[in-house]
């Protein structure tokens, strides 16, 4: 046949030839049709759903904080683990730490922590005074504060801040406008009160206070003084919480009845069994001052000094330390405030041996497994918190309502409930499938919609998405400090102000009382006291 074709003239193509050559081209048409059908269906579904849910599709514009005007002069109280992190978030890291980041970035081009730190906004602040009871930490704080150029080893250093032996002397200094408090919890109340009296603005770490009584004293002092107070819940800066709040306001999950939040950690560090510095001894640590607020004094104990979170004398345990992060996350979304009652239970179930790995010391008092139930009968829901310091099973945060439920963390996912009243029609018509999310929010993604793929959600949940592209990761702690600094400049109230702090402080104290006194603690809203 082909020979024949050739014989009849090779330059001219006959019909048969053309048909063979183009035989598969119509497949492209089928592809176009199929793609059009599928896209149209997806579009109709997401459009209808979006109309139904009425969530804003735009990402909140990120407006950088302003840093103009005079430099604000900061005094740092406490340069332990958290103090070091706060200083770095404020722009001051120890040269050795910067060198370390630099070396690791040189070794591994994917390690962007050094670049991120360099790109972090300059807040236009100076650290003019530092106070730490451990000489080694105090010296490190001085060196970090002087590292104004974010240099590594042998870099050019700036002016050296003054070291104060007591926080009272630091608060009395004229060249300090505001203080960052990153001490153990047993110091928070008196330092904040004294700072307020001295007219210094305060950024303080959680837990808010050590005891119930201190909650009132701190609130009154801050309010009377008019200082700008920010409690250290950097979760206030998390984008997905803002979306969660919008979803609640738009009634996407209907009437809320149960909220479940948790903490899970499974390491010595996570259980507050920190390293003990080899140079710590009664000559390098002002142990007497450390113990000053304690009713019963203890002999020098490096375990108590470094692992203070394990004892009620200094810390607030899972309730003040970690429940508060979860409480604050929910409180900023729901604004539910102080619960009507709290019950709590737990125990030292894992870290109960005198010797576990490196952990050889007195046994902790503070439970490593903890459960708190907060009741809100006026709002018709319960808030359940449960925590383990010996399991990594991350259960996330869930808010459950009659019409749906939302799970959130760095991302936000909302599902409709199979028995929902609101979505009954849509579920029947097939517009909503209760197995699939009706709304997904992944920060950094331009559009939030219901049809984010499973893969996308997988990657986002593991922090693999939108972390490197565009090159910029922003530390929430940095934003939280930046917000506080801007509020000082503009004389405004920051997001985690004294009222928010009081609510979470009381809730945490109620939980601690409930567990330690083995009873349910009730709160009288009008009298503002425990009954």
């Amino acid at each position: 046949m082909n020979d024949k074709e050739k014989n009849t003239g090779s330059s001219k193509m006959n019909r048969r030839d053309v048909l063979k050559g183009l035989a598969t081209v119509p497949v492209l048409g089928a592809m176009a049709y199929g793609t059009w059908r599928k896209t149209r269906q997806d579009h109709i579904r997401s459009h209808k759903l979006a109309k139904e849910l009425n969530m804003s599709s735009d990402e909140k514009e990120y407006t950088p904080f302003k840093h103009d005007g005079d430099a604000i002069r900061i005094g740092l109280i406490g340069y332990g683990i958290r103090g070091t992190q706060l200083m770095k978030a404020a722009g001051f890291a120890h040269p050795e730490a910067v060198q370390n980041l630099k070396d690791q970035a040189a070794e591994n081009s994917q390690d962007k922590r050094y670049a991120d730190f360099l790109e972090q906004d300059d807040l236009n602040i100076q650290v003019t005074g530092v106070c730490d009871l451990f000489d080694v930490h105090a010296q490190k704080a001085i060196e970090a504060a002087a590292n104004i150029g974010r240099e590594g080893k042998d870099g050019q250093m700036g002016p050296v801040p003054k070291r104060y032996r007591t926080y009272q002397e630091l608060l009395a200094a004229d060249d300090i406008d505001a203080v960052i408090i990153a001490t153990p919890d047993h110091w928070h109340a008196r330092m904040t009160i004294d700072a307020a009296l001295a007219g210094k603005h305060v950024y303080a770490e959680k837990g808010f206070t050590l005891t119930m009584d201190e909650n009132y004293a701190v609130r009154d002092a801050v309010k009377q003084s008019g200082i700008v107070y920010q409690l250290g819940h950097q979760g206030r800066q998390t984008e997905s919480y803002i979306k969660a709040k919008e979803a609640i306001e738009k009634q996407l999950i209907g009437k809320i009845n149960l909220i479940e939040v948790c903490t899970n950690r499974n390491s010595a560090n996570g259980a507050w069994v920190y390293d003990i510095h080899p140079d710590a001894n009664p000559n390098t640590v002002d142990w007497e001052q450390f113990e000053a607020p304690c009713e019963v004094k203890h002999p020098w104990s490096p375990e108590r000094f470094f692992r203070w979170r394990c004892w009620w004398d200094y810390g607030t345990g899972l309730s003040g330390d970690l429940l508060t992060h979860e409480f604050d996350a929910i409180n900023q979304i729901l604004g539910m405030g102080i619960p009507t009652s709290a019950s709590a239970s737990g125990g030292v179930y894992f870290w109960k041996d005198k010797k576990r790995g490196d952990y050889v010391n007195e046994i902790r008092e503070v439970p490593d497994v903890w459960n708190t139930v907060l009741e809100y009968p006026d709002l018709d829901f319960s808030l359940l918190y449960s925590a383990s310091l010996a399991s990594n099973n991350n259960r996330g945060k869930t808010i459950m309502g009659h019409d749906g439920y939302m799970e959130f963390g760095n991302t936000l996912t909302i599902y409709a409930d199979r028995q929902s009243t609101r979505y009954e029609e849509q579920i029947k018509s097939g517009l909503i499938d209760p197995e699939l999310p009706i709304y997904t929010y992944i920060p950094g993604r331009k559009n939030a919609d219901a049809v984010a793929t499973a893969t996308e959600q997988y990657f986002a949940a593991r922090g693999l998405l939108y972390t490197y592209r565009g090159g910029r990761r922003v530390d929430t702690t940095h934003l939280h400090i930046a917000e506080w600094i801007q509020c000082i400049r503009e004389n405004k109230q920051p997001s985690c102000n004294i009222d928010q702090a009081f609510e979470e402080g009381v809730a945490a104290s109620m939980g601690i009382m409930a567990q330690r006194e083995n009873r349910t603690i009730f709160w009288d809203k009008d009298k503002e006291q425990v009954v």
Partner: protein
């Protein structure tokens, strides 16, 4: 010109196979182009095995990542369309094999490795990327496009 010496059934089974692979490539490309948020970053970051470092560093370099995304999207579309209509089919087959080799090397089905990305089956050493790659090799060695495909016209001129 002489058509290939395949029987009718041999010829059409191979053409259908070629079109099916082309369809898969083309749709993967179209779906990526239509999603403005699509990026290979998650896929690259999820890489494991011997070459994981290479793929991770591509993901870590925004400029390289953009190139990778572009090449991947348009590569899939051109290869897919090429295989379907039989245009520059030889080049399309080879390019397809290269692309699949990258996918295979970035996510090899080796022992002791788990991926964040969910898979719909179970694989040991041989996975669907490898099978598709080997299938393209067959397509390459059996030039169906000389009979069914636009290449027929190009070959004819010669």
């Amino acid at each position: 010109m002489k058509d290939t010496d395949f029987s009718k059934w041999q010829l059409w089974s191979l053409v259908i196979l070629r079109v099916a692979i082309g369809w898969h490539f083309l749709y993967e490309g179209i779906i990526k182009i239509m999603n403005p948020n699509w990026s290979s970053i998650g896929y690259l970051m999820d890489s494991r095995g011997l070459f994981a470092g290479v793929f991770h560093s591509i993901a870590g370099n925004p400029a390289l990542l953009n190139i990778m995304d572009f090449v991947n999207m348009w590569g899939l579309i051109l290869i897919g369309a090429g295989l379907i209509v039989g245009l520059f089919t030889r080049i399309a087959s080879i390019a397809g094999m290269i692309l699949l080799a990258f996918y295979y090397l970035s996510h090899p089905a080796i022992i002791g490795v788990n991926y964040a990305m969910p898979t719909e089956g179970s694989y040991l050493w041989v996975n669907k990327n490898l099978i598709e790659l080997l299938t393209l090799w067959v397509i390459l060695l059996f030039p169906t496009w000389k009979t069914i495909g636009i290449d027929r016209f190009l070959f004819k001129k010669k």
